[in-house]
């Protein structure tokens, strides 16, 4: 029954989306439409219906209702409750339902609170939002129904892939989804602005919190995904440039560029066309990522949702929305008046460099990811991996970091070097000093070397915009920028330090053996079997100490799951402020010794601390913007009331 309610709510939501689509686009015309008053309620009601539908699916998973096919194929009665719940979205159908739910909630929220923009533009925006939503409703209802019943009801479910039975990964996909879908809101605003020829700073201010919000979620999602890969895969790698990772990186790059260009548009009414373009591209990258991952076009061996029908469906949606928006853009772009001008040596100039660099990196990641697909069409197979992506993206990344250090010090419109000479000299001297020091003390590659030096320079530079400001009265968005830029420095430091200084030990050890790695000493005491709720494991017991300090336990496991079958490596991580010791247990060799893999990874955790700082900076900025909006709105309200009072006085 619950499943039928979920399905019915979804159909009703789809019907409302059609209403919103018609009402929105008709209402965007000069003459308006009778449907206009219905558009906002339709959006809000949809949010409610989708929430009900998603709730129904989560309920089915919580009680392991095996008569629902999705539950039977992806869950198991013996699974811990948390993973039963996360099973609801850890599959194709459930994740698409999550997608449409987040989208409906975002649409409902805009309809509820956003009253700053001209009505026609709002109608066009909500119409565009519904246009995108209708496609996804159809996709779910016609080819990915999560509520399909199964008959006869099986005795138990298939279970969830063991690698996914992990808290990190349970919340990682929804995080990224919210980011992806948030960009659909930016897309709708961009289409709305194009349709009503209304590319204004006000539009940028309204769109910005949505971009900021989805960018925060994308940042957290990518950082979490990277950490998950790091500890779950058992080989110490945290970024592989594989197509699926790239699929999540591309929207982030576009969103980062959009965030910065929207700031220019909001503050200075410049970069109008470019901001619209990025709005379209950012969502295109979300859709493209979904397509690449879902269609199986790039991941051939592992049949997850590799279904040509689904792939074709997403491709049609992709072509319709992205192709449509690009054509609309090409037709309308020349009618957008050019924005305010500015000198190259100005805040805007620095942000243009940032945008050009980010877009170039996006172009490289896009080409590198799709190139094997292209050559395959000609029966040639090639691989593009880290040896290509690392240096080529660095060509654009390093200059961008240099500008990141200086840009925030510049004034809007035009500035002179003389004014910022002192801070620039300080940053340059520090950077060069670190460079010289590292060069003198160690022998490391050029990229890690530059990374280390620049990370220190940027760390100092990131707080320089606070110079000469009253700390207590500095607006939150400025703080947000400083923290986020500092986060970039921290993450860069972690990446460079781990790349340059990590140490690796692969040994076959028996109990009693002592292994030395870097400053660590590890003594293996025993290997014994342990059992969990749906797995058994061999667990290694090690006593480790850092430079002869206190002894700590490490328990790496090699786990075997039985529902479904699979093996994972649970690594032991010993975290210190200056890095992590990473211990993985392998198989038993013929002579009874156990394979152990150990890495000492100096400052590796800074990569994810940096990612979290970047996201935290985004949150500060978002908070600042929202508070600012609320204040402005209540001030306007007071002003209106005052005027009304005056009018009354005058009348009496």
């Amino acid at each position: 029954m619950i499943a039928e309610i979920g399905l019915a709510a979804l159909w009703l939501g789809a019907a409302l989306a059609v209403l919103q689509l018609l009402g929105g686009f008709l209402g965007a015309r000069e003459q308006g439409s009778e449907l206009t008053p219905l558009v906002r309620p339709a959006a809000m009601l949809q949010a409610l219906l989708c929430a009900v539908s998603f709730g129904a699916l989560v309920y089915a998973f919580a009680v392991t209702d095996l008569s629902v096919e999705l539950v039977a194929t992806h869950s198991h009665s013996m699974k811990p409750l948390a993973f039963k719940l996360s099973g609801a979205w850890a599959n194709h159908e459930g994740s698409m339902l999550l997608w449409i739910t987040v989208m409906a909630l975002a649409g409902g929220l805009i309809a509820l609170i956003e009253h700053r923009l001209p009505s026609r533009m709002m109608m066009a925006t909500l119409g565009a939002q519904a246009f995108v939503a209708v496609g996804f409703y159809l996709f779910i209802l016609l080819s990915s129904n999560p509520f399909k019943r199964l008959s006869p009801v099986p005795a138990d479910g298939n279970g969830l892939n063991p690698l996914l039975q992990d808290m990190g990964v349970s919340f990682h996909p929804p995080t990224l989804y919210i980011g992806y879908v948030g960009l659909s809101v930016a897309f709708s605003f961009a289409v709305g602005a194009l349709l009503t020829r209304n590319v204004t700073p006000e539009f940028a201010r309204v769109m910005r919190p949505w971009v900021l919000g989805s960018w925060i979620f994308l940042t957290i999602g990518i950082a979490a995904g990277s950490y998950w890969a790091y500890y779950e895969l058992g080989w110490g790698g945290w970024w592989f440039w594989d197509p699926v990772e790239n699929a999540s990186l591309m929207p982030w790059l576009a969103a980062t560029a959009l965030l910065h260009s929207a700031s220019v548009l909001a503050a200075r009414d410049a970069l109008r066309t470019w901001t619209i373009m990025l709005g379209v591209i950012a969502f295109s990258m979300s859709m493209l990522g979904t397509f690449l991952v879902r269609s199986g076009i790039l991941t051939s061996v592992h049949a997850f949702a590799v279904d040509p029908e689904r792939g074709s469906f997403i491709l049609i949606l992709l072509a319709l929305y992205i192709g449509g928006a690009l054509v609309l853009f090409a037709l309308r772009a020349s009618t957008i008046a050019e924005g305010e001008r500015f000198a190259l040596f100005s805040r805007e100039g620095a942000l243009v460099v940032n945008n050009v660099a980010l877009s170039s990196i996006l172009g490289i990641v896009l080409l590198g990811t799709l190139y094997p697909l292209l050559t395959e069409a000609f029966d040639v197979r090639v691989s593009v991996g880290p040896p290509y992506f690392n240096p080529v993206s660095a060509i654009f990344f390093l200059p961008m970091l240099a500008i990141l250090a200086v840009g925030p010090l510049l004034r809007w419109r035009t500035d002179s070097f003389r004014r910022i000479r002192l801070p620039v000299i300080i940053i340059a001297v520090v950077t060069i000093a670190v460079l010289a020091l590292v060069l003198a003390l160690t022998e490391i590659g050029i990229l890690p070397l530059l990374g280390l030096a620049m990370s220190v320079g940027i760390a100092i530079a990131s707080f320089m915009p606070l110079r000469g400001r009253n700390i207590l009265r500095t607006p939150l968005p400025i703080w947000g920028m400083c923290v986020a830029h500092f986060g970039v420095a921290v993450a860069l430091f972690g990446v460079a330090a781990d790349t340059a200084f990590q140490q690796e030990r692969l040994v076959a050890a028996s109990p009693g053996d002592v292994i030395e790695i870097g400053p660590w000493e590890a003594r293996m005491t025993s290997v014994s079997p342990v059992a969990g709720p749906n797995w058994t494991a061999m667990q290694g017991d090690l006593l480790v100490s850092y430079e002869g300090g206190p002894v700590r336990d490490a328990h790496p496991q090699a786990r075997s799951f039985w529902a479904p079958q699979g093996e994972t490596s649970e690594v032991a991580l010993l975290t210190r402020w200056n890095g992590q010791l990473y211990v993985a247990l392998g198989n038993m060799a013929d002579d009874g010794r156990w394979q152990l893999r150990l890495w000492w990874k100096p400052f590796v955790t800074y990569i994810w601390y940096g990612g979290l700082l970047i996201a935290f900076g985004g949150m500060l900025a978002l908070l600042g913007r929202v508070i600012g909006d609320v204040r402005r709105r209540s001030a306007e309200l007071r002003e209106d009331r005052r005027r009304a009072d005056e009018a009354e006085l005058a009348a009496s």
């Binding site: 066309t273 397509f291 076009i297 197979r381």
Partner: protein, 178 residues
Amino acid sequence: MKRLRYTLWIVVGFAAALFGLFAYQLSQPKDDFVESAMVGQPMPAFDLPPAVESRPGLSRADLADGEPKLLNVFASWCIPCAAEAPQLDALERAGANIVAVAIRDRTEDVDRFLAAYGNPFTRIGKDDISEVQLAIGSSGVPETFVIDGNGVITYQHIGDIRADDVPMLLEELRKAGS
């Protein structure tokens, strides 16, 4: 402004080309065979000990004795290898000389496998570290190579041999002999 318009239409064209590529690739059957670059090349030097007592081992010299052969790369732990056993029998009955390399396999397991599924092989080399497999550009089991009388690889078949592959392999073997 005009220049901007052109640029934008180029972007639209690029997107269209991309969608076209996706559509084309979606319609293509997806195979992930990694073809060997050694087809047309002479077999590299190797010398493997016998995998079972009943058959001799395999070396480069055995493959350059003037008679074209099929070289089957298999393993007892590989399920498709069992599935292709009847086809190998059919090839043997049709007169093919089939030699084999057992990948990462124990003698007792290979014996059990041959007892269960038949033994069409004249020689079986034991390759515990996939050295021959890597040397001839094979990326999995089972794979079947056609080797001519001079020890040159003339054809590679990836995956298990289906019934309708048998005549094709015999034809390849005939070509290698002529």
